[in-house]
């Protein structure tokens, strides 16, 4: 028995040594399998069940932000997605649909989590203009002082939306937990701290070129999340503060960077983001989020005379905010219902509406 214990200990030591930042998936899985085998010798353990065991204590990290990272609806949290512990791999897949007053946003994606340390995420967003595309075409005619019956082809092709236009972007993200654990560190005020990076690529290249923004951009963020297990009224309570360093316009849906009087501008903005959550019970979380958004000028007058007022209307943006209810019927599934207010988007005001999202964890 003693000998067996020692060999287990050696195995764990080897695994712990390899469980650094850049640990490859296969190695992590292998170590976990070995550990599972040694602690549960018989009957033969279900290896995969151990590898993807739900390690989490609290139903955190199993909700996804629209950018693909683990978080609330619009703000990434410091938590690593899924329910991995330091010796597990896991992940989540999600679908989100936002029904705004004039538009709809459909988003799907997933993330892969390694050892509660690294999260690699992907998201695809379709921002659907729908019938509002025709309204925008009309606004463009008016802004240019053209009569409404002007033939469409007098406009640059990239500014004709019609009734079925989508703004699409792909987002690849990576998040690394730098310090602390939001759940275990109940004896300390120091939160869990993670650093994240998101690469955005918008597919509507010719439209973005016309309005003077770039199709690709970066977001760097530092997120701090604290969970109090005996928080408000003795219930789990979560607070997150995130600092975002970004050049995205409407989160990248209208491109990146903007234009200045002398041409393209690439300046980054620092924007704070906040999220809170309150667990009514172990299956039901309510909360809210607030995300400050950078403001950039697009479509400046110097590009094409007469575009100035149009550009000003298109440049207006608002901070994003939401209130949400997340329900976990079982630990590996969450359904989030939110009321989101994204303000002005592409000159249309009051873009608020219902946000529905589902995340499955494995």
């Amino acid at each position: 028995m003693k000998k067996n214990q020692r060999s287990q200990a050696e195995m764990r030591l080897r695994c712990a040594q390899s469980a650094g930042f850049a640990v490859v998936v296969a190695a992590a899985a292998q170590c976990n399998m070995a550990a599972a085998q040694t602690i549960a010798p018989e009957p033969a353990p279900d290896i995969m069940a151990h590898v993807f065991d739900m390690g989490g204590l609290v139903t955190t990290g199993a909700v996804t932000a629209v950018g693909g990272a683990a978080g609330g609806g619009i703000v990434p949290w410091a938590l690593i997605g899924g329910y991995t512990t330091q010796d597990q791999v896991g992940g989540t897949a999600f679908y989100t649909h936002v029904f705004l007053r004039n538009y709809q946003l459909a988003t799907y994606g997933g993330l892969f989590a390694l050892s509660d340390r690294v999260e690699i995420s992907f998201a695809h967003q379709d921002f659907q203009l729908g019938g509002t595309g025709n309204t925008l075409d009309g606004k463009i005619f008016t802004a240019l002082g053209l009569p409404a019956n002007t033939p469409q082809d007098l406009l640059p092709h990239s500014l004709q939306f019609g009734g079925h236009y989508n703004l699409n972007q792909d987002i690849i993200g990576v998040k690394v937990r730098l310090y602390g654990n939001a759940v275990y560190d109940q004896d300390s005020y120091i939160p869990e701290i993670s650093a994240g990076y998101e690469y955005h690529h918008n597919e509507n290249v010719s439209f973005l070129r016309t309005i003077g923004t770039k199709p690709s951009g970066n977001e760097y963020y530092l997120a701090a999340t604290k969970v109090w297990l005996n928080g408000i009224f003795g219930h789990y309570t979560m607070a997150t503060a995130t600092l975002d360093f970004t050049n995205s316009i409407q989160n990248g849906l209208l491109g990146f960077g903007g234009v200045g009087p002398k041409g393209p501008k690439a300046g980054y903005h620092v924007e704070p983001e906040f999220a809170v959550g309150y667990w009514i019970n172990n299956n039901l979380v309510v909360g809210g989020e607030y995300r400050f958004m950078p403001h950039y000028q697009v479509l400046a007058d110097h590009q094409v005379p007469g575009y100035g007022p149009l550009g000003d209307a298109l440049s207006k943006s608002s901070d994003w905010k939401d209130v949400y209810v997340a329900y976990f019927p079982v630990k590996y599934l969450s359904v989030t219902l939110a009321y989101a207010d994204l303000g002005v988007i592409a000159s249309e005001k009051n873009q608020n509406g219902v946000y529905i999202s589902a995340t499955a964890s494995f």
């Binding site: 287990q8 390690g55 512990t85 109940q186 003795g234």
Partner: protein, 145 residues
Amino acid sequence: MSFSTLGRALIAAATLSVTAVSPYAAQADTSYYSEFGARPGMNAVVKDFLANVLADPRISAYFTNANIPVLDASLVNQFCMLEGGGCTFNENMKAIHQNLGVTQAAFNALAEDLQKSMMAHGVPLPAQNDLLAKLAPMEHDIVTK
């Protein structure tokens, strides 16, 4: 006249409120311990908790060589101490667990089994969460892998 009526009403109200509040005031002295049902309640929660653990394929192997009655008594003592029941518990968590190779996943599974037992015994959520909040930081001492 009206003043003394008001005074009498106030005294009556105060008496009523003291009578109404006093059972809770007595409970407040032992904080969350009484919400666990004091000694009998804590015994039952821990008994169920250990039954859950021994039936949990994720972690039962850790307890193959454990003396369950001793562990039971020790846990009752520890939880009683943590929840203000006036017990003394001074075992060193780090020393007890140092050779067990406890993983974070095992620690979480154990916490889940405890939660399940507290839920089954109708322990109020704030009392449950208070115990979890006191146990959670022990992860640093217990998890060695």
